[in-house]
Amino acid sequence: MKGDYLILLLLALVAFILPLILPGDYYVEVFLFMGINVLVALGLSLLMGYAGQISLGHAGFYGLGAYISGALTAHLGWPVPLAATVAILATALVAAAVGWPTLRLKGHYLAMATLGLGIILYILFVQLRGVTGGASGLSGIQPVHVGHYYLDTPRRYCYLVWSLVVLAFFFSINLVRSRTGLALKALHYSEVAAATLGIDVARYKLQVFVFSCVLAALGGVLYAHYITFISPETFGFMYSIKLVVMIVLGGMYSLWGALLGGAFLSLLPEVLHRLEDMEVVVHGLILLLVLIFLPGGLVGLIQKIGERIRGSS
């Protein structure tokens, strides 16, 4: 339990030092995008590991954040903080509208509903040309700045992203240890028993789902205002799947799984340039191998190794 805060402190240190020592902007940028992936994955990890629900449309919520915030700054010239806030709130509303009816039902209706929503959102990103720029993309998105200080270098932006990642982990660790976390864990293992203890199962599932979509939207906002040009393929079904693979690979039952899985899958394409076309196959393979040989994911593996070392000494 206390270990979580220690790991968080370590993470904050690493996130502070890495951008200073990485050799060149390219690597800093890789680290920056890793932060965005980890942020989105963290929300999904809360949903999957604690509420026992799967979203197959998180790329859609990620895209909503990016497009709404991006379009408000590009077309209407809104200041970034205001556009970002509106984008995140709007995404939360969409999430609540989808989650409200589906999360009242037992079973994996949320997975199906989000799968459908993700596809619909993708089509909207392509078709609403006047707003989204269609298939050729949306340009003119404003960068983030504080007065005349522009966060337009990879290093500066990296600090913004990772500060938010650390903050999101802090919030999530606290949440898991609070009454809400207790309720989520309980309903994951038995919805019936949880309800007979006074836990409003549908409400807690909805809360964590909306929060998870808020983190996805925040990730989208961060992405859009860094890259300042977005196009639909970033927010397609494959990214939703990639997020699920991150969680399974990292380990579903620990929030740190989102960090490890997110980091691993962010680095993989950088190491294996040639496998770009094979990405789907690689993800499928990872999913299969982890589920068969490593059901606890990377976090589970580390815990097992830790136990063995302690056991032998």
Binding site: S190, L197, I199
Partner: protein, 256 residues
């Protein structure tokens, strides 16, 4: 005072009428037992009372509230706790966490307060933990506090479930076959424990097959058969009643 009153409760599963209009009343501070042969509708009645299953028709009044169509969590929030015949413990959670979850209705903090770990949140979690430790010690569960509940022997899991239900600080405790799968020694201890609950002022309503346990601790016994109440009375009166002997106890005599 009447804690729980159910009248004309009906439930069908497809074409099978599990409950055909049952009336039950549970008086405050008593131990009331619900007995009857397998399939007589005892667990179904418990599921309707606790809100785990929706009822087809009838009325349920709990502490003066008409709760017949309330969701389960609202009934629990009002002070109704239950255990399950087939155990519904949170297997991957520790014994301590299981019992703490039982105290959920005594906490209030919201999502944001939890995420920012406000002092109030830490306070209520600490209080949940302390109360859970006391309950664990009452039920001799202290050695298992940090073990995953699913790894423990059956008898211990039963106790964890009872401790979890008690953490709710219930006005009414529904126990669904608490002695099933327990050894004779464990059953005797359970009987003493349930009797102790009554002395603490907790009203108990239990479904049980172990007749020695039922007759030993109950103040009032209700007998179901084929979805209908066929008799109710004191344990002594139930033992003498022919209809009951025929429907239920007779089977045991024949076997013995």
């Amino acid at each position: 005072m009447v804690v729980l009153e159910a009248s004309d409760v009906r439930k069908s599963f497809g074409g099978v009428k599990a409950l055909k209009g049952v009336d039950v009343t549970v008086q405050e501070g008593t131990i009331t037992a619900l007995i009857g042969p397998n399939g007589s509708g005892k667990t179904t009645l418990f599921n309707l009372l606790s809100g785990v299953l929706p009822m087809d028709r009838g009325q349920i009044t709990f502490l003066g509230h008409e709760i017949g169509h309330w969701p389960a969590h609202k009934r629990a929030a009002l002070g109704m706790a239950r255990t399950f015949q087939n155990l519904q413990i949170f297997q991957e959670m520790t014994v301590l966490e299981n019992i703490m979850a039982g105290g959920f209705r005594h906490t209030t903090s919201g999502f944001l307060a939890g995420g920012f770990s406000l002092p109030r949140v830490r306070g209520e979690m600490k209080s949940l933990r302390e109360k859970a430790m006391v309950l664990a010690s009452d039920l001799d569960l202290t050695p298992y506090l940090h073990k995953h509940a699913g790894e423990l022997p059956f008898g211990i899991q039963r106790k964890v479930e009872i401790a979890r239900a008690l953490a709710l600080e219930p006005r009414l405790l529904l126990l669904d076959e608490p002695a099933a799968g327990l050894t004779t020694k464990e059953t005797l201890a359970l009987g003493r424990f349930i009797h102790g609950l009554k002395e603490k002022g907790i009203t108990v309503f239990l479904v049980e097959h172990d007749m020695d346990l039922v007759m030993g601790i109950s103040d009032w016994v209700i007998v179901l058969n084929f979805g209908q109440k066929i008799y109710e009375g004191t344990p002594l009166a139930v033992k003498r009643e022919r209809a009951v002997i025929k429907a239920y106890l007779g089977e045991r005599r024949a076997k013995g």
